[in-house]
């Protein structure tokens, strides 16, 4: 999700003037973009010292927290949008954080590497774990402790009573709406807490 174009595609999902919480906000690039071009406000959550510093240097409000500890700091529905981009695959408590995202935000937006993208399937078919641009790590040193697919997320969302408002894949900076589980390396879901 560090790609400029990917970030812009996600930014377009965020309504103008939204109050945004960005979980795992990295260096704050998206929040800065949302503030500058869409009049949004809010906070980023980061654990890594270098990213926290980068956010400060960008002038982005950042709160240094470990997401594994949950979002007790934030009240129900206290944000218009909670973003969880390229983050959930690093979390032990993936499902809990998804529920927390839906609790704290009126809308949740997640993105993650789609393990079912066809080149990954090919790698596995030939007996090897995929090493690609979106999944650049060897199996033994990957920070991605959760590997899931576009289709897997749909099932998890249903299980947790999340209503999917929009969903698509991103491949090479383009939105993929046809067979995203096969044709996109990144999955994007926009959702809210159950009906």
């Amino acid at each position: 999700m560090s790609d400029r174009k990917d970030i812009e595609l996600v930014a377009e999902l965020v309504p103008h003037g939204s109050r945004v919480l960005d979980l795992g906000c990295g260096d704050g690039e998206l929040l800065a973009l949302l503030a500058r071009e869409r009049g949004c406000s809010g906070y980023g959550i980061e654990i890594a010292d270098d990213n926290v510093l980068a956010c400060h240097q960008r002038g982005v409000n950042v709160i240094q927290l470990n997401l594994e500890e949950g979002l007790a700091l934030f009240d129900d529905k206290s944000f218009d949008v909670v973003l969880q981009l390229d983050t959930l695959q690093h979390l032990r408590n993936t499902e809990k954080m998804l529920r927390e995202t839906a609790r704290v935000g009126r809308i949740g937006i997640v993105s993650f590497p789609n393990f079912a993208h066809w080149p990954n399937r090919l790698h596995v078919a030939f007996g090897r774990m995929p090493v690609t641009r979106v999944l650049p790590y060897e199996w033994y040193d990957t920070p991605n402790i959760r590997v899931g697919t576009y289709a897997d997320f749909e099932i998890l969302a249903r299980k947790d009573g999340l209503r999917i408002l929009d969903a698509f894949g991103i491949q090479a900076g383009r939105v993929v709406r046809t067979l995203p589980n096969l044709l996109a390396s990144v999955a994007v879901f926009k959702f809210q807490a159950g009906a």
Partner: protein, 390 residues
Amino acid sequence: MHFAAPLALASGAVLRDYDLAYETYGTLDAARSNAVLVCHALNASHHVAGTYAGVQKSEGWWDNLVGPGKPLDTERFFVIGVNNPGSCFGSTGPTSPNPDPAAHGRAYGSDFPVVTVEDWVDAQARLMDALGIERLAAVIGGSLGGMQALAWSLRYPERLRLCVAVASAPNLSAQNIAFNEVARRAIVTDPDFHGGHYAEHGVVPKRGLTVARMIGHITYLSDDSMEAKFGRDLQRAAFGYSTQEIEFQIESYLRHQGDKFSEYFDANTYLLITRALDYFDPARAHGGDLTATFAAARCRFQIVSFTTDWRFAPQRSREIVKALVDNRRDVSYAEIDAPHGHDAFLLEDPRYHGVLRACFDRLAIEAGASASRSAHPHPARSLEGAGSSQ
């Protein structure tokens, strides 16, 4: 600077007239928009930065943070350090003459009125009035100094752009008050205390002050940093089998710190300042609701804590952050994984200082601080003010 108008205190008492010792660094810009107030903690003073010409070891207590080219850059900001009333470094305090005719010109001693964090902030605000500073770019402090910064944001919400509270808390825990009480008992039970009027007896309760400082000092360090610095290292090669002599190096260190402190710090001031710490609790007026308390705040906030600080633990800073988030205030929070315990706020850590540098860079843009040159401290009267502090 002398203030002739009385200062009404939280206790109902009145400070009839008083002096405030202060120092400034850098230049106030034409728009008077680049002033930053630095609030001191327990044992520090208005001497925040720089050195006094020809005086050895006279660095200000936050000299690693404040100065030309430093994170709080005195080439851009006009930095003000002020000694709080009740302290003992030049501002009116227990060692000053009591103006009450019944006192016959004696020092206040223990008759100096109890002062609160809010009283200090009121006094500081008067100094800002006198300096012609309507709105501060920032108020910054660590520990008890951070409490003053927080009190500024609540008491004078329109008079600051940025509040920086480092290693602070919305109030003291029972454990914290307990440590303060041990320190106070050490002082008042010293036979040389004489009900707080020891000056009239020509003595100082040095033993009590020493013990107070020793217990305080333990709580400013982390278990790990003490272990790394001293471990079980002995003074001599073998045990001396003595209960009175110094056996372990940590004992030697604590006694040295305590002795040094008792040479320059006033016992009544120690009692007053620990009490101000105990009393600080802005949420008390809101039924303990910190979110309701911070509804009054308007400025941007920078909160910093240190993971190994068990005296003002990160959890306490997170409470402040939560209250600010609930009120949709602009806030950033850095939780620095430093090994030094509470003392970390006085030390130079690249992550910590990096965050504050970025924070003040942003402030300089917001406040339109001019890049004026000339950054020589204007030394006021001073005694030793450096060292670790609460």
